[in-house]
Symmetry: C2
Subunit: 513 residues, 2 copies
């Protein structure tokens, strides 16, 4: 067995059975080995940023790592922006990066690059395989590293000769050690704070706004009167009718300050204290009031779900009924397209178990409010501020959950970063409905001008306009084999949304704003 | 004056008057300052890879640096693949990368990244501005570094508060020191080799296959009987009727070995010895015969043009008439589309002073032969093997040379990497005719399979197909405001090419293969 086959067999043996890929010459033996291992699903992507974002979305929804396959330093470079987001999302991910044959590096051929230097900023585990015989062991270690709580990026560099040479060995992946519980004193301190009568918020980090952790947090909130918060850049939030209520911290600094103003105490569970996305002259960076006590119940890498369970036990809240969101949908609006009308329409029609991928930036700010009482669903957002995650993340979520509809809320500016994802959605017949909010501008930047004290003239504003020529998303989607429709009224939009979500195949709805 | 305005004034004062940009919140003050400095032309790009590739093309054709503007670590990351190519092209380039305000970094806000680590692999000069008062000086040093021979990438990180704070100072750029001539003995050794009667090749590096250097090399070749070679990954070649003949080293290892087999001596002028792009089992990495003597006349950073002039003097070849390519065009073919027919059509119709940007990979391999006797033109190719440079480089070349037609030969797989460049071409009304060779596959990889000894089955081959669904480049181009046409015969193609080249505006010709 050659190194490449041992790699794929080690991946699938370790539960990593999807590979989002854009291979080149150095990765051909990995590709060729796919035929020997039918358990591995290769998903071709036309750009590496699509593959990285898809792997992130896959991990958020499946809870386990996907692999990626990239072509040397430049292929990895194209993935870095979405690896930045994945790093912030704290998801598990195994990158395989092909490299020149070990003995070819000395020639400094055109594609030679310092792959390790490029990988290091976002890789918690990083190694270049030395020989075909090492590849299986290296891969098993990479998977174990990726799975280490809270979820890490591991990067294995695969020189071409370690892929094509014989001597590969399939290596089982070691069991991941359970993440440590915080100390008892830390848990008891949180309980003490929750009993002292001060207004308290509990900020839930990645992987805690879903499943059992969310249910436990809901019981704690009900027993103590605390408010549950999610970071603005949340990894995944399970929400809707019948689920505990969690408020997302606002993006706009003044709004976030207002939202957090009344809290005297903040308990962090696997999340950092909320900070401003950017600095603005004469505005604070930390979003909590100055007199707020901050207590860290658990850090990333500790067992946040276990810490919440232990805290509930101390509070004798194990059977407390959480405050649950009641079912409520907006009425279906009619008439001209407005931001509020679009949000109400989504709120009225969002199907149960939908996965909402939200990179709508300015145009979608009303969406969460309008959908809070919709049937239970998941909400995924951009965690690292690197735009161009939405369309790829929808691909990954749809691959992870083929029986659930994916609704992607995408801004036109962000969507253009990684529009190639639409082709993969078509290739794989993924159940994704994408709404493009076509305001023909980097609208968020226009909104930031005042907050930043900048006073731009016509030439400057021109750099923030992405119209002239207008992008035609119907043509772009059709060009990649995805059917698409431009809507002119809210009635049109509702019809397109209903059909799109029911159709079971990729489709795009362009909404001119 | 704030730091941002001092930066732009220092750039334009130093001759850097184009900025290919994709700004975000941290770069708003740079954008706002554009209104104060009308000498600076901002060119908006919908993806940073477009901006980097455009800056490369601009530098290749203008001989001077453009600037870029990127949004923190992720914005820079998206540019890295084309910075890899620019680094290999040895072009001057000044990156400006916005960062959080200096005092905001400690909050580790979502977009925080180690920008210096990301920039280092491709930046020969790298600094983060410490204050508004330093920005002008830093920028002047960056420009001087970029202009240092043979052409370097300089990256200046601009924290938001150094842009918005007052105290900016415009700093003049120091004159670039002349690159050193090689030692006399080195030049005389080259002359001795050229007189010893052995078959000799002279390999010309970046910036030497154009202008006076090319003319001098032609005289040396005529006087000595040497053959002039260009690397496969050449930066720019001025060629055509009436210009010295330079052979490009082949990509395919066996072809290159055959091409170079008879040479007993190789003189390198600012170029490394030719090596295989990739390693293949049981094929050599170095493409020269084992018994070939290699002599380095000049290294990158030395004065290659001066070395050639000095060598011509030693050889008393200053007035020798070079062997010049005679004018000859293929007859315009008719009938079904074939690779050879497409090449002949381009050869028949290529206008004088055209700039050909060639990222046609497998489909364009006959193009150089068919155009060798066409009227004088320039040929630019992918220098680093990171695909997705073609469409962006055409944008940069067209911005640099608004009075010349640009013909972009683009493979469909590579084109999809940075298709957003078409929008910038439309926005700026650039004179670019793009031919998309739509073979619906990563055809080069299929070609590599045999050479690599891989034996893929259906599932593997499927990863190399980019049809199903087929990409519709007419729709994609139209979606970005570029008119486009799909052609069915060679007659159609000739008609579309003639109209496209004469039209003076961006247009796309899709050629199904």
């Amino acid at each position: 067995m050659n190194g490449a086959e041992s790699l794929i067999r080690t991946l699938t043996g370790g539960g990593v059975d999807v590979c989002f890929m854009n291979p080149g010459t150095s990765e051909i033996h990995f590709v060729a080995a796919l035929d020997s291992v039918p358990q591995m699903r290769g998903v071709p992507c036309l750009f590496e940023g699509v593959a990285a974002g898809a792997a992130d979305g896959y991990a958020r929804m499946s809870g386990k790592p996907a692999s990626t396959l990239f072509h040397l330093g430049p292929g990895l470079s194209n993935a870095l922006a979405n690896l930045h987001n994945a790093c912030r999302a704290e998801v598990p991910l195994v990158n395989i990066v092909g490299d020149h044959a070990t003995y070819h590096r000395r020639y400094d051929a055109p594609l030679t690059a310092d792959i390790e230097a490029l990988a290091r900023p976002y890789s918690k585990w990083l190694r270049s395989a030395a020989s075909a015989g090492d590849v299986g062991r290296d891969c098993a270690e990479a998977i174990a590293a990726a799975r280490t709580a809270p979820g890490r990026i591991a990067t294995l560099i695969l020189p071409a000769d370690t892929a094509w040479s014989e001597g590969g060995q399939v290596v089982p992946v070691a069991a991941t050690p359970a993440p440590p519980l915080p100390q008892t004193a830390t848990i008891e301190r949180a309980a003490t704070l929750l009993r002292n009568g001060m207004r308290t918020a509990i900020l839930l980090g990645p992987h805690l706004i879903e499943g059992e952790a969310l249910a436990t947090a809901g019981r704690i909130a009900a027993a103590s009167g605390a408010t549950l918060l999610a970071p603005f850049n949340l990894t995944r939030m399970t929400r809707g009718a019948g689920l505990p209520v969690v408020e997302r911290v606002a993006y706009v600094v003044d709004q976030a300050l207002e939202q957090l103003r009344g809290f005297g105490q903040l308990i962090l569970v696997g999340a950092p204290a909320p900070v401003a996305f950017f600095a603005y002259p004469s505005k604070p960076g930390l979003l909590m009031p100055e007199r707020c006590d901050i207590h860290t119940l658990s850090r990333p890498g500790e067992d946040g779900a276990g810490a919440l369970a232990a805290l509930a036990e101390v509070l004798q809240a194990q059977t407390t009924q959480p405050v649950l969101q009641r079912a409520a949908r907006p009425a279906l609006p009619e008439g001209d397209i407005t931001i509020a009308g679009l949000a109400a329409t989504v709120g009225a029609l969002l199907p149960e178990r939908a996965i909402v991928v939200d990179e709508s930036i300015t145009s979608g700010r009303g969406m969460m409010a309008a959908t809070k009482g919709a049937p239970p669903h998941d909400w995924l957002v951009n965690t690292g501020g690197s735009i161009g995650i939405g369309l790829p993340m929808a691909v990954g979520a749809a691959v992870a959950c083929p029986d659930r509809p994916v609704l992607c809320l995408e801004a036109d500016g962000s969507g253009m970063y990684t529009l190639q994802a639409l082709w993969t959605a078509a290739r794989e017949s993924l159940n994704i409905t994408t709404i493009i909010f076509a305001n023909r501008a980097y609208a968020i930047l226009k909104g930031e001008l005042a907050a930043l004290g900048a006073n731009p003239g016509r030439r400057a504003l021109d750099m923030l306009e992405i119209g002239r020529p207008d992008l035609d998303w119907v043509a772009l989607a059709n060009g990649m084999g995805v059917r698409a429709r431009r809507v002119a009224t809210l009635g049109d939009f509702a019809d397109a949304l209903r059909r799109g979500l029911a159709g079971g195949e990729p489709n795009v709805i362009e909404v001119p704003l």
